[in-house]
Amino acid sequence: MTGAEPVVVDARHLRCPLPVIELAKAARDAPGGTVLTVLTTDPAARHDVPAWARLRGHALVSIETVSGSDRVAMTDGDVLAITVRTSG
């Protein structure tokens, strides 16, 4: 762990496979052990972010529905916050 603030990747309104690509770019540029959260409205991301993490050896931390919470403004449809910790 770096102890830094978690990195948030805002991929709302991007369709598959763009949320995974944006998350992967952030993960590539971050040191090992970084905690990253991607915000997404794409239903496929619920399945594809964990599958990407498994393929790359990253750890899946959590999948939460955050629509309507204080963290993000309400949008049309659910917003998922998917959090991973990078390997290394």
């Binding site: 369709r15 598959c16 496979p17 995974v20 992967a24 794409d42 964990p50 599958a51 990407w52 393929l55």
Partner: protein
């Protein structure tokens, strides 16, 4: 670049078998009349229809009077779930299904579980699968043994990823619990041996080289059922079906069964070659489904960081018709529920269903163009060193 087309998406819509086309043509001449009428023309059509049912029954291990014909595989599955559930409404309203059943089964299960307005609803109990797409036998056995189950449904094999399901084990559990088992053999009949320990079986002529617009439902005489639709002389599927389509389906199935051993060896070998080559030549690819205990002609893989719609479009431009379970390739934003239930990548998905008689050199050309096609789609998305 060549204009040659290669069709690798035969699931549910295989190329018409030449013998089925000949049978259809013959039946247009001899079986065009209404088989319900008692005149000579009507009786001739009736004889062809009955002959088609007898041939289908023989190929499917059933008696002729247990074979019913519908307008589509979807109609067969909907009616089976609704008819059995209504027949067993005093026992319960729950419907147990695997997570990777065809959408028509999942939708019908949800429909009957919801029940009539004002009636007590049941539940659609979904049993999970492993990473290969195979249902959890113990969990399904537990689910069918619970009180209040009207019926259970399990496919012979998954048509999206090819994995065979443990039908005999689940059928034994259902029999112990006294619950009827609907077996969706839509992707399997004509391609693999079909287990015989089912109560109701649905098969899809479009998948084995017959015409579309026809479905086959086989209901063992012991199964209690009741229509929740209006009465008709053809009780399961009111109105009857096209006699020429029925004859074409029966003739196509006889040929598919007779040619199965040779087609199995040929296509199984090609799928092995595809699985090996794709894994070796495409970076960041996941070949999914059981590598050995599977249908002989289905192979599916997902490419990381690839837009499935863009990839199927790129392959189409190069002359290859392929399927995909990616969300981007359907009007809905939801990806394939099969890939999702397996926990594998849903984007960048390509599904090949090899028709009987597929040519080796066509498959080799596909394997030759695939890596560059994937690379081009990734370049457009700006994917590099991820």
């Amino acid at each position: 670049m060549t204009n040659r087309r290669t069709f690798l998406d035969a699931s549910g819509h295989a190329p018409l078998h030449p013998a089925a086309r000949a049978a259809f043509d013959q039946a247009l001449d001899e079986g065009w009349a209404d088989p319900r009428r008692l005149h000579t023309e009507g009786r001739r059509a009736r004889a062809l229809l009955d002959g088609a049912r007898a041939a289908l029954a023989a190929a499917l291990g059933a008696r002729t009077e247990e074979v019913f014909l519908s307008g589509s595989h979807t109609a067969s599955l909907h009616a089976a779930v609704r008819g059995i559930a209504r027949g067993r409404r005093r026992v319960g309203r729950d419907v147990v299904v695997s997570a990777v059943e065809r959408a028509a089964v999942l939708a019908a299960a949800e429909f009957v579980a919801a029940g009539a307005p004002g009636a007590a609803p049941g539940r659609r109990v979904i049993v999970g699968v492993d990473g290969l797409g195979r249902v959890d036998v113990a969990a399904m056995a537990d689910a069918v043994a619970a009180p209040g189950v009207a019926l259970a449904a399990l496919q012979v094999a998954n048509g999206e990823v090819g994995t065979l399901q443990p039908v005999p084990a689940v059928a034994a559990a259902a029999r112990r619990a006294g619950v009827p088992l609907l077996v969706d053999a839509g992707a399997a009949v004509g391609h693999v041996a079909i287990p015989d320990d089912w109560d109701v079986l649905a098969a899809d002529p479009g998948d084995w080289g017959g015409l579309g617009g026809l479905g086959v439902l086989v209901v063992r005489s012991r199964v209690r059922w009741s229509p929740d639709w209006p009465a008709d002389e053809d009780a399961w599927f009111p109105g009857g079906v096209s006699v020429p389509a029925a004859l074409a389906a029966a003739v196509a199935l006889e040929h598919a069964v007779a040619e199965r051993a040779a087609a199995d060896t040929h296509r199984r070998g090609l799928v092995d070659r595809i699985r090996r080559t794709v894994a070796a030549t495409v970076p960041d690819v996941e070949v999914v489904g059981d590598p050995t205990d599977r249908l002989p002609h289905v192979v599916t893989f997902s490419c990381l960081f690839v837009d499935g719609e863009a990839l199927t479009g790129e392959l189409d431009r190069q002359g290859f018709a392929v399927g995909s379970g990616s969300a981007c390739t359907s009007s809905a934003l939801e990806p394939s529920h099969v890939l999702a239930a397996m926990g594998v990548l849903t984007h960048g998905n390509v599904r090949l269903t090899l028709p009987v008689g597929v040519r080796d050199d066509d498959v080799d050309r596909f394997l030759a163009v695939l890596p560059a096609a994937v690379a081009r789609v990734r370049d457009v998305l700006g994917v590099r060193d991820l």
